[in-house]
Amino acid sequence: MSRNTWSRYWNPKHETLPKEELRRLQLLKLQRLVARAWQESPYHRRIYERAGVYPDQIRSLDDLRRLPFMTREEWMACQAEHPLFGDMTTRPREEAIRYHLTSGTSGRQPLRVLDGRKDWSWIAEMWCYGFWGFGIRPHDTVYFAFSYGSFIGFWGAHYACEKMGCLVLPSGNMTTENRVRQIVEMGATAFCATPTYALRLGQTAQAMGIDLRRDARVQRVIVSGEPAGSIPATKKMIEEMWGAKCGDTAGMTEIGTIMIFECDEQPGGTHILEDHFIEEVLDPESGEPVPYGTKGERVVTSFGRGFIPLVRYRTRDMVEKVPHTECRCGRTGDLFRGGILGRFDDMKLVRGTNVYPRAVEAIVREHPEIEEFQIVLTREAGVRDEITVRVEVKEGAQAQWPRIEARLGKDLAAAHEGLRFNIALAARGELPRFELKAKRLQDLRDKS
């Protein structure tokens, strides 16, 4: 097949399936998934019996709401009671081919997951939908700035690109400087990393005297692992730095792969892979569904992972679902506008005002003179909470500091009901840099 005649969809049959048929397909898969979970996972049978729900009661998609939620806390407890993997696995350990851990950025005990041969094939398949959808093709040379450890990260994307016939460059534990050199030398056409690391690598290239727009051939930057991938200002910074299109994806270790991706239309949101997942959006307090255009909590059901049935898993991710018609690409999978908007458990209450790190980042990134930042929460005199944004500015921008300080403080206050933010200048190189998920918020209030 000539390169000009590729379908724009990885799976033309189902990515454009009329909504009514998509719902029928989801119901059929849900019924079989719940029956299998009941038969093969003691954990699932236990929680279904406790809720008084049985597989034959799932007769419509509305019946999904009869099923109890799975939570991170229960999963951890299940693994503590039945070490190492809990009793929700449907196969013996001997049948697994891979072991991974959650990233641990939440500070809690990481979850341990096992997957079989079929699961890993499916994990890569989901990434194929996303990479193909953003325009990656077999002739691409794809660079992975990822350390290939027990964090699942881009493992599935690596296999997806091999499956698609791309030339894959796994950079493993290389230094950032060596990665810059290799991207240029090998003429990589696509680059994959966290948004934070895409920026960091760009900054390092600049310090090395390398202009990625001129010296590299990267046309697409695909990011994952942080909500920042869909923050317009962050995306714009990445695109300007690389001279390339930036596309967002999001997944989680609990499902093993991605469930949403940004297509090449860059519609300001990420399509849901609705033939492989059900993505509910619920009010986090009541557990009731919220309508299109309303922020709520993602609750995911996965049809692909065999070792661990994932049915109605509460993610704590904040999302806003909008109809697929908001994108012109023709896919019928709905969108999460702005990708993952943050996490409900990331929210900080500061003097009565809700503060989300992603919202702060969205404002900080509107200031192109800022290179890195950190949010610090403290408690003064044991009672008064203070929020400080520490900022590193780019080389040569120090003289503009009074203006940056005033403007940033004003913008942050305007977006947070007038809450006063302290703005502090950090020395260049003082703030931490990250390769995987960035941890830019320090809550020191209990220690203040």
Partner: protein
């Protein structure tokens, strides 16, 4: 396979889909055998899960194959 075989949504299979499904089932049978040399058995398993993906993507089946 019967000529009037259908996908999960009840649509008739195309010739390509019919062939894909047939290949998957044959590889699944091969993967379940215990008398094959490792070089055959494990490559058959790899091939089988790849075709499982294609068949599930197209809605030809939804099942959990026993692979190992």
């Amino acid at each position: 396979m019967t000529p009037d075989a259908k996908d999960l949504l009840g649509r008739p299979l195309t010739d390509d889909e019919r062939e894909l499904l047939d290949l998957y089932r044959r590889l699944k049978d091969l993967s379940a055998r215990t008398d094959l040399p490792p070089c055959v058995l494990f490559n058959a398993k790899e091939a089988m899960v790849k075709l499982w993906n294609a068949a599930v993507d197209l809605g030809l089946l939804y099942e959990e194959p026993r692979v190992d």
